[in-house]
């Protein structure tokens, strides 16, 4: 029970602290924090917000999983941002240019997206393994190039088509869509959410039950001990980067298969960076990440209500930042507190068993 407390107390503390902080900021700017937070909470019940939160949670969840795989072995894959962009545009191009029976079509798009993400991640991975190039730099650079590539691919004279002032890839025919669950006015939940859940379960099983997960964790913990234990460091870098890239490739599929059916200028960017924060918030644990993704999505979507009550929406970003920071601080504080308690306990035991020692 104390175990559980140690896990749940910190986030709770952190959220309270962040709300206080933002409350103060709101008061300074002359707004009423209670009405602001109230608006955010009631927003959940309005229109399709609840479903939007669920959808967005799924997307963030996939992104954070992709990041977490790299983190597990101390690989800092900042490149998720670029990987999912490249995967999205390639999957959209391929999906829009083939005709296959329903189901198979969708499956092909998913596979293509995963492969494209993995391929984009393979470049920094190979550079790291063969040339020792630091993955932080190379993935930052690859993110830039990803935008270039996607811009090139949707050029009118390449795969793009003009639509008003927008430009986009050919629409994926209905056989390639993934049906969602419609709640009428409440919006439509992406079918891909279930894939996200499956990915989370798969991630948990992989990390905790398989040899590969063991090797990944061992490499992250101590690359020297892992190599003495027969773990091939280069192979692990390669495989985990590819895996991370493949999962990153799926990030945009909920929207692509469930709503947009095309890659256009309206592409949702920035999920890869949110994924970093969420993975860290969830401490690379599939459950923790789910919580982090949900929190993130809630703040994002219900934050839209702030406009209605005349409160600057930036408060949400501040809240996200302060939650990330205060959650980890809270974990540390609670840890220290428990350590001290343990020390006192030992002291007491020494007092009673002192004679025997």
């Amino acid at each position: 029970m104390g175990h559980l407390r140690g896990k749940l107390l910190p986030p709770a503390l952190a959220i309270v602290f962040s709300m206080l902080l933002c409350g103060v900021a709101l008061v300074i700017s002359g707004a009423n924090p209670l009405s602001a937070f109230g608006a955010m909470v009631t927003q959940v019940g309005k229109g399709s917000t609840l479903v939007d939160i669920v959808n967005s949670t799924g997307i963030y969840y996939i992104a954070a999983l992709a990041v977490a795989i790299g983190f597990q072995m101390n690989l800092f894959n900042i490149g998720v941002e670029g990987q999912y962009r490249v995967a999205a545009v390639i999957a959209a191009v391929v999906g829009g240019s083939i005709a296959l029976p329903p189901g198979i079509h969708t499956l092909v798009i998913i596979v293509v997206a995963a492969l494209a993400g993995a391929a984009w991640a393979a470049i920094p991975a190979i550079l790291k393994v063969t040339r020792g190039v630091n993955e932080v730099i190379s993935t930052i650079m690859m993110n830039g190039l990803a935008i270039g590539l996607s811009a090139y691919l949707i050029r009118r004279d390449v795969f793009g088509e003009l639509r008003g002032n927008n430009i986009r890839t050919a629409e994926i025919p209905e056989s390639g869509w993934m049906p969602g669950i419609s709640f009428g006015g409440g919006g439509t939940m992406f079918g891909f959410i279930f894939v996200a859940i499956a990915l989370g379960v798969g991630y948990w099983v992989m990390m905790n039950k398989t040899r590969f997960g063991f090797e990944l964790r061992a490499s992250g913990e101590s690359s020297t001990a892992a190599s003495a234990g027969g773990v091939n460091a280069k192979k692990m870098v390669l495989v985990s980067m590819l895996l991370s890239g493949a999962i990153a490739g799926l990030i945009s599929l909920p929207e692509l298969l469930g709503r947009d059916h095309t890659f256009s200028l309206n592409f949702t960017a920035g999920i890869g960076f949110s994924g970093i924060a969420i993975a860290l918030l969830g401490r690379n644990h599939p459950g923790g990440i789910a919580f982090g993704a949900l929190l993130w999505a809630f703040l994002d979507k219900s934050g839209l209500a702030l406009d209605n009550v005349g409160v600057p929406r930036e408060i949400v970003t501040i809240m996200q930042g302060s939650i990330v920071l205060s959650v980890v601080v809270a974990y540390e504080v609670v840890r220290r507190f428990e350590l001290a308690a343990e020390q006192r306990r030992v002291g007491r035991e020494l007092g009673t068993v002192g004679g025997a020692a």
């Binding site: 398989t210 040899r211 090797e215 020297t224 892992a226 003495a228 027969g230 030992v346 020494l350 020692a357």
Partner: protein, 532 residues
């Protein structure tokens, strides 16, 4: 001022520790420790692994605050909040694990924190060179520490202490990594400085050394002082009994179990430095038979580490073949070599042996992630791993509150027992043991020796690397001397003495009949070295 009137007649002791208690989560490292160190003496501290020696010394050095108890230095009660307080009081410490920044130069490491004395420039450099003579360090102060061998690092550590003008010097297991000659040099330095009025606190698991250097001995057991002894009269055996209450073990294994069956056959092994300029391993030929312990003697840095890591597949050989029981391992990776039947006790358990923040049972899987009982196919078998860890904990007397504690929470000796236990599981054909008892107390040492001997009797081939020459001579059936990447001499463990071995290791040449130079005379090696 007023309180010391009574002590004025006699010199106050250099250090008095009274009633020191220190608690860590789950452990009481020190409980009511009392210790008095007279000025100008070498005072030894003995105790089992995890007895609390290092902790006590860290308290004296201001690195950790005591929960209870007082410290007096030169009769004055002091309270150290940081090491700088202790340094100001004239206390210096050489840590068991080197406290050096690899990527800084010797000079930078020495002057760090004491820049006020002579700055960080030429004056400091002069002073270091001046002091170097005292410790026998003869390297350019501008050289990076990462390029130094262990003995030189040890000297840099002592230099750091001297540079600060410490009068009380703590040496925490300084000899664990030194060969006898180097130990002698160190002891000479210590004695010389003792005459100049320095006081030493000396920790070692090698009780002969303790008796050789110390003026008085304090024994610590399970965190408390259990007594003191006069090193002139006490025997190692008695000391050990005070420490653990058991008999002093010996590594001797006279009855030979060597068979004809070749287990490991290494031929023409070559390894170059990463920049390709020099060989680290030069044409090494080595055969280990079933039931045989082959010991490799050598000053650290002569290629033993690289030999072991090349045989393990952690480094890629330039040329040569490695065969294990007719299976050619040359092209295989580390995991495949392990699966072929090699067990590996690495020289640095923290770097190569353990995942420190993971529980003990998780560490059991490392290196065995493809084999029973820790895995089934691609799946881990956590139950199997846990059960087998319980077995190791019981069989190897690993002192731990449970198998779910992180490996870091164990003291060094117990960590080592866990590693040895793991590497002897899974029925290895060959065990490569690098310094298997380094930093391990006498009790644990005996246990590890016994286990190695038992496995050897059952047909295990053992390649043993050790800086502890008694251990090497006692355990080995054959000893080979390694110098500059070559196996330059064979020694007969039945007749050779540590001193003979030591001089062969340093390249001073064979001084005894029991050390035979091998085919490629090492004189040639020297010539070639010169030609490089």
């Amino acid at each position: 001022m007023s309180s010391s009137t009574s002590a004025r007649t006699d010199d106050p002791p250099a250090v008095v520790l009274t009633g020191i208690t220190k608690r860590f989560p789950g452990v009481v490292a020190n409980s009511d420790v009392h210790l008095t160190v007279r000025r100008g003496e070498v005072h030894a501290l003995c105790g089992e692994n995890g007895a609390g020696k290092s902790t006590l010394m860290k308290i004296l050095y201001g690195m950790q605050p005591p929960d209870e108890g007082t410290i007096e230095v030169n009769g004055e009660q002091v309270r150290f909040r940081t090491p700088s307080d202790a340094i100001k009081a004239g206390i210096g410490m050489v840590h068991q694990h080197f406290m050096l920044a690899d990527n800084l130069t010797v000079q930078e490491n020495v002057v760090l924190g004491a820049e006020a004395l002579h700055g960080i420039g030429q004056k400091a450099r002069k002073r270091i060179i001046e002091l170097s003579g005292k410790t026998g360090l003869n390297v350019d102060p501008g050289v990076l520490v990462e390029q130094l061998g262990v003995a030189d690092r040890q000297r840099v550590e002592i230099l750091k202490v001297l540079y600060r003008g410490a009068k009380v010097i703590i040496l925490d297991e300084p000899t664990a990594v030194l060969v006898p000659q180097e130990v002698n040099e160190l002891f000479d330095t210590v004695r010389g400085m003792q005459e100049q009025g320095y006081t030493f606190l000396f920790i070692s698991h090698k009780l002969d050394e303790v008796r050789a250097i110390a003026d008085s001995v304090t024994v610590i057991r399970r965190g408390t002082t259990v007594g003191s002894a006069d090193p002139k009269t006490v025997s190692s055996r008695q000391l050990a009994e005070m420490m653990v209450g058991s008999e002093l073990p010996s590594p001797e294994t006279r009855e030979s179990t060597v068979t004809d069956k070749v287990v490991l056959d290494v031929r023409g092994l070559k390894l170059m430095t990463p920049d390709g300029s020099r060989p680290i391993l030069d044409d090494v030929d080595l055969v280990v038979r079933s039931g045989e312990v082959v010991g490799i003697a050598g000053v650290e840095g002569n290629g033993q580490t690289e030999l072991v890591e090349t045989v393990m597949g952690m480094r890629k050989a330039g040329s040569g073949t490695i065969t294990l029981l007719d299976a050619d391992l040359t092209k295989l990776g580390t995991l495949a070599r392990r699966e072929a039947g090699i067990g590996y006790v690495p020289e640095d358990r923290h770097r190569h042996g353990l995942l420190l923040t993971q529980p003990l049972w998780y560490n059991r899987i490392l290196g065995y992630q493809t084999r029973k009982p820790t895995s089934k196919g691609i799946w881990l078998d956590t139950d199997g791993a846990k059960k087998d860890t319980e077995r190791i904990v019981a069989d190897f007397d690993v002192r731990t509150p449970g198998i779910d504690v992180p490996a870091a929470a164990l003291s060094g000796g117990n960590q080592q027992k866990l590693v040895v236990g793991r590497e002897l599981s899974g029925d290895p054909k060959l065990l490569i043991a690098s310094h298997p008892t380094r930093g391990v107390d006498v009790g644990a040492q005996a246990l590890i020796w016994d286990e190695i001997k038992r496995a050897r009797a059952a047909g295990l081939a053992v390649l043993l690397i050790s800086a502890d020459l008694d251990e090497l001579i006692g355990l080995s059936d054959t000893i080979k001397v390694m110098l500059r990447g070559r196996l330059v001499a064979d020694a007969d463990p039945n007749t050779v003495t540590p001193e003979d071995l030591g001089s062969a290791m340093t390249g001073a040449g064979a001084t005894s009949a029991s050390v035979q130079e091998t085919g490629t005379a090492h004189g040639t090696a020297v010539v070639e070295e010169g030609a490089n």
